[in-house]
Symmetry: D2
Subunit: 337 residues, 4 copies
């Protein structure tokens, strides 16, 4: 019998990607899709790509009905709203993979400071598995609630965490310069994501003040034991998808070869991490769940480069990978493009 | 003394282009910019490209104040709203170049049918110069109100009108397949013009039902004397700007050479029409007021190709060219990129 | 035991897509990849996306060795060169899916006229199955050589053939205005396909003289019994992939509803044809083997719209679909994205 | 009488931009365009945008003929070849603005090390004005040979030099993370700059080993008096034009306000430097000679952001600005878009 998955907040880009991946998953059936604003519409009228592929209508979320229809919820709601819904779902015994930031940080005050809202379910903070199976497989395996990672943090934590853990780089001097495709900004119409505003243009935003920075620090700290302060600058890049993070670190008695060894030791068995000699581009990983990593020496620093697809490894692919881990399936089910 | 021009509805893409062109015009000074929604903001906060170039604040339109500050109005308001404002401006003796469709058609019923609103100033319909100086120079020279042409119609009328006038093609079998950059859809945030909706995608819209079709028919009819029915299909193309129209016509005892001769006779003295042998692309005319035209035989048809920049020759460049004509200046002032 | 497939001419975009699709095919193993120019290189050095996914080196094609290693050849060579290689492969009893145009036309003289070369294996002309399973399933099922269709012809023949067969449209007045992504022009460095030449630009090319025009005519004629003369204009569009064909036809006592009925009767059981009410865009089918079709009335004409991914349904997806048909497998194996 | 300018190596993107700018310059006439490979072709057949605008044929460079036709040479040849030609031109008394890197560095050994060629005219090294009028106006005013700056160095030196000079930042810890449009890679067909390779993709290249790094160091050193070692990472970004440099520095008793003050003191009178509060994007400066600068605090660092158009302020606009300086004209002639 197939595992029944429902998508809450099914009209955005990550929700579409999740549906697309789940449709080719051999052990999963999509049984519900919800949306407040588009209630009653066929999902294919919101995502025309799904015509003839998924014959479901969007419904307004109702926890009782949802829990009858679904074993697992992919919750794609905005922060704040998400935690409230997650609480209802957990009370109704649904397994939840939460795409929001609501359960990623380990400190309620930090969350409330950065997100500017009272946390709706603070008791859970610090008890939720962070959904990077390459780093937290043990916690994910037994979880019934998973905080699906942010897209930028995935691209920074994957290269950095093993090096921090091994003491190979200084924790006090890390710069993450990230370039993201526009889909990361969501599907709600806004001036800043209009075609003619972003096409033929690149610019940074939220320099040193993006909410993904404390997420990077928080997760990296679990490997360092001390307090890291990453300097993070995201850039909006004229492309649909992909994140490229160029990371400047200071080695501690480590060179590029040592970095590769450490990565290899940590990720050698991971099907989605590729430690490459060439320089990765976002196109190399587009449409895939891969993380491509490389390293280059530059003066007294090392430059780490990570490329992911922000909608897949940075969101919906990670969610499916987490689902596979929870159910003990092969990690790659539904995920090989 | 410089001619004082004000821009009404100054926050969109065509308004920005108009400002950019007027800033390099030797005989013009921009003296007012209006916007209801962004009142009080510096124009450069809405168009950061204008930083250090134009030091004006957006004001709410008030006809008395505007008429004191400006000799000429570039009116960039939506249809319906535009005609109301144009009436006020004309009563206050401002010369007006109207970017909307409100005075382009020669029949009130046709207008009200296609635009779904009561025309606010029907008495003017049929008396307003259509702002293509290459075809209507006489009317423009003495005008105090000009209907600035639609972008698609410009790309179709320029190649077609001389051929229709010369009787070189059949009026009953004309297909205009146009491809436009996304700026043609305006700057108001909408799902359909988000980067991730339009990038890497092309699609037609409003097939056989776009409001620019009656405009093409109306203007072309002035040259044929009979009723034309163009079949018009616009396509949204993943680029900022540019319109490429591929036009399928049936010749009447005319071949490609004859088409070139007719164009040459009509446009030989026009500084902005280039009759070329190569196939034009939108990139060849990007940022310019040029119309590039060519023709190819294909079976028993001729294929006409026209390329323009939708924001320049298709909107703001035409407006400046019309201004030059009204004042008897060289047509190219402010317009050579 | 898996069917062993080899890719001849494995360095281009269609070859990459074929490899990507075959890698997720449950009954196929890729056993050889050939290239003259990049002999000895790992396939992943030419296609970095394949890192960790396919561990093969490029070899120079040798028919004896290839026939030992492979049951089926995907032949991705240029026209002329392809037919010579196909003959060798057939003599060695390999099943061949030929991506070139060498066996698509049914008349040697027509081929030699349009392609400007002597046909290397003229005896085969007229005996080779044309690889559109939706239309030629019977011939494909028993074939050991298949002419994989051209990308533009697929987008035109799929909507047109059923209507021609049903006598619903005139054969003498068909205009196909197609817009293609840049990948259709191949991966060999040329000025015309540089980023800065094609980005932010659209233009037609080979108006009325493209080699895919006789292919459209030839295949359509098999349904009409008479001689069709499509007028075909391709356009290079600033996007990686996708073809959108806007097709202007004159109905013969048929309206849009009748067109839908005819399509439904022909394609109702085809897993890859979607007859939709909305207007398709190339993005709706990007990365998939779907053909999205719709129809709109416009004056005394009908406008047909077809969208495909040029690299999938227009090339490598069709090849895999043909492979599935030959082996009697489910048509969709390897093809659901 | 107009100054006569010739363009040597006139087929590339920077040459086209130079021509476009010079065509609207009131005191300049373009009198020669040279190209070895396209000898005899009209310039408009290589740059169709120039149809009807510049009626010159490409000739093979001959110094005697060139010196008769031109007062000034814009030399757009590759490094090495350029210096040889420059020597000929100077011997014939032409004023030269050299777009290559041949005279930018102040040390012959450094040049030969980074560029891998023997310098053809080493005596000149160290005596040539570096063409940033905002920083080296005195040297440019009297120059007859100018080293036109590299595009990346312009985007880094403009924000950094004043801060270095004022002692406001540490020279030992500067990271320049730059993102460039594809036109920076030139117009010669190469795999890496094909549309389908660069579109929808971003990647760094030449990490810590790009030839513009020693140029940055060299010029910055003229302000610091000591040896700087910038860490420079360029990225190829999917857009035609523009460079965005995100620069990470460590302040020395300076904050963001102090940075603005220093910039203001240095650039307050420069018509092309805009010190802005908002975050600049490449689109804000596209088609212009502006350098947009801002600064943001981030932890114990400052982040500087600079945006330029790589083809204008990063190449051809700078050349015209230098020309204006040499002749004592207003710096902005030909340069206000």
């Amino acid at each position: 019998m197939k595992v029944r998955v429902g998508i809450i907040g099914a009209t955005g880009y990550t929700a579409y990607e999740a549906i697309r991946l789940l449709l080719r998953h051999p052990h999963v059936e999509i049984t519900a899709v919800t949306s407040r604003q588009d209630e009653g519409l066929p999902i294919a009228s919101v995502h025309p790509q799904l015509t003839s592929r998924l014959d479901l209508k969007l419904s307004v979320f109702d926890v009782d009905q949802f829990a009858k229809q679904c074993d697992v919820a992919f919750c794609c709601l905005p922060h704040g709203a998400s935690a409230e819904t997650v609480k209802l779902l957990r009370d109704a015994d649904c397994t939840v993979i939460d795409f929001s930031a609501d359960f990623r940080l380990s400190c309620v005050a930090e969350y409330e400071n950065w997100y500017g809202v009272k946390h709706p379910w603070p008791e859970q903070i610090g008890r939720v598995a962070y959904g990077l199976p390459e780093l937290f497989a043990d916690q994910i395996r037994d979880a019934d609630l998973i905080a699906n990672p942010g897209c930028y943090p995935t691209s920074a934590i994957m290269p950095l965490a093993p090096l921090i853990k091994a003491g190979a780089i200084q924790t006090s001097d890390i710069i993450v310069d990230s370039k993201s495709g526009v889909s990361g900004a969501g599907r709600t119409p806004k001036l800043g994501t209009l075609y003619c505003e972003t096409n033929e243009s690149i610019a940074p935003y939220a320099i040193g003040s993006h909410r993904h920075q404390p997420e990077m620090d928080d997760i990296i700290d679990r490997f360092s034991g001390s307090r890291t302060n990453v300097l993070f600058t995201p850039h909006l890049t004229p492309m649909d998808r992909g994140i490229l993070s160029t990371i400047y670190v200071r080695p501690q008695e480590a060179d590029a070869d040592r970095v590769r060894e450490i990565w290899q030791a940590m990720y050698g068995d991971s099907p989605f991490v590729r430690i490459v000699d060439h320089i990765p581009s976002t196109k190399h990983v587009s449409g895939t769940n891969f993380v491509d990593l490389t390293v280059r020496p530059a003066g007294d620093r090392l430059v780490l480069v990570a490329a992911i697809d922000n909608l897949i490894k940075g969101a919906s692919g990670a969610a499916v990978q987490n689902l596979n881990c929870i159910y003990g399936w092969d990690q790659t089910l539904g995920l090989m493009n």
